[in-house]
């Protein structure tokens, strides 16, 4: 019926463990054979043989334990990582909701950071300027918007970050559990905004450890365990399976 926004076809991703090279020249000279052997075998599988489709307007949740491969999946969707095997198709502009303060500079003011973040996320200056009043309004930062953000609290930073992403007309929105910050009232405002996106049929990929949030927002959920998909289906069914497995272990 409709073409998917995001398609993963048998995607695997492994990393070479570069940081193990830190042994230095001495190590390399003294144990050349061991090092070579090590380099050949030292790959780390972050994802193995993953396939799924995400359709336009769908809200897709990703759950799993720490280190299961959730962030790698988001990185692959955002296009900052390349798959080692398999194929990824993304149709549309991806807006990742950044972790606290990523892409912000502490010495710049809130306003200057909005512009910086906006162009980094793929907008032109005039597009950002048009949305500036809405973004400032949404952030509820008031006069602080003209202060350098190094004086902001973490809650204020989170508000600024979410305000930027929420007002840039995202096409595909990636959210990596950033809602845990800020006070409850602002968290609710963020959730409301996400629901608004959902209702206006923005495609959302949502990573979270909060099963409440997943159940409230997501249509379908993928449960990633041991670097591969353990379960894929309706939100209630998959979160149920995941919660039971957590309780067992």
């Amino acid at each position: 019926m409709n073409t998917p926004k995001i398609t993963f076809t048998q995607v695997s991703k492994s990393y070479a463990l570069y940081h193990h090279m830190a042994g230095g020249i001495k190590n390399i000279l003294l144990h050349p054979a061991t090092i070579l052997e090590f380099l050949r075998n030292s790959r780390f599988d972050a994802l193995r043989d993953i396939s799924f489709d995400i359709f336009p307007g769908e809200t897709f949740g990703i759950i799993g334990r720490n280190g299961a491969g959730k962030s790698t999946t988001l990185g692959l969707i955002a296009g900052v990582l390349k798959p080692s095997q398999g194929q990824i198709l993304v149709r549309g502009r991806v807006s990742p909701l950044l972790e606290l303060g990523a892409g912000f500079h502490p010495e710049l003011t809130g306003k200057e950071n909005i512009l910086l973040n906006g162009v980094l996320l793929g907008l032109t200056r005039s597009e950002v300027r048009q949305r500036m009043p809405t973004i400032i309004d949404f952030s509820e930062l008031g006069d602080f918007i003209d202060q350098p953000i190094r004086i902001y609290s973490s809650g204020m930073l989170a508000r600024l970050g979410f305000a930027v992403i929420a007002n840039l007309n995202p096409d595909i929105l990636l959210i990596d559990e950033v809602l845990a910050v800020g006070d409850q009232r602002f968290q609710k405002k963020c959730l409301d905004k996400i629901m608004e996106f959902k209702n206006s049929r923005v495609t959302i990929v949502f990573v979270s450890h909060s099963m409440d949030e997943i159940l409230r927002i997501c249509d379908r959920v993928a449960w990633i365990e041991d670097h591969t998909i353990r379960m894929l289906g309706g939100a209630i069914e998959v979160t149920g399976g995941y919660t039971r497995s957590l309780a067992l272990s």
Binding site: V80, L98, A102, E107, L121
Partner: protein, 254 residues
Amino acid sequence: MNTLQQYRDLIIVLTHKEIKLRYKNTLFGYLWSIANPLTFSLVFFLAFKIVMKINMEDYPLFLIAGLFPWQWFSNSLNASSDLFLTNASIIKKVNFARNAIPLATVLQDMIHFLLSIPVLAVFLFGYRKAPSLVWVWGIPFLLLAQLILVYGLSLLIASINLFFRDLQKLVAILVTLTFYCTPIIYPETMIPGQYQYLIHLNPVAPLLIGWRDLFLHGKIEGSRLLVSFFFAFFSLAAGYAVYRKLSWKFAEVL
């Protein structure tokens, strides 16, 4: 559709940010940028003219004309190693044109060099000389050649440094070495005959000699300009090729 405009805006915003950050919280801002090459000019003047009595007319002017463009070259190169490292958080999340980061830094240093040219003109007047009309087209040409050269090298260093962090230390040493191998504190005519050929292997030498010729004598030598551009495009081609090969791995190693 408007990707070109988007890229242009990205560079403008990043460059603007660099300029702003350079002067944030300093009282004398701009003065600090020219204080550095001026101090070095003074030091070399004291060492070579006063103490060692080198036979050079208007030696301070000669030094300034070389040290201002050198300052741009060395600042940009020394900054380049860290560029992708310090932007790790955004590189890991967003797929934007990362090559805009070194470009913005090089442009920022270029703008500072441009702002130091009036100071140079003041010194010229002090020695009863004057800026020449040739500057009007000479400066843009040399500016472009140096921009391309420095950008190519920055891109190369910034990319490789992510995988081989020792490069940063190596670059710092090579930049210092290049300084003394380039005719900045001495004229190229003083190099002994059997070593003259070495100057053709130095990619910065034709540029630096070109700047000094332009500033002090108001002339541009066509062949030297051509060689400058040759090195510039070679550097850009090498830098871009390495960047393209490595850039998709940036998010993995950061």
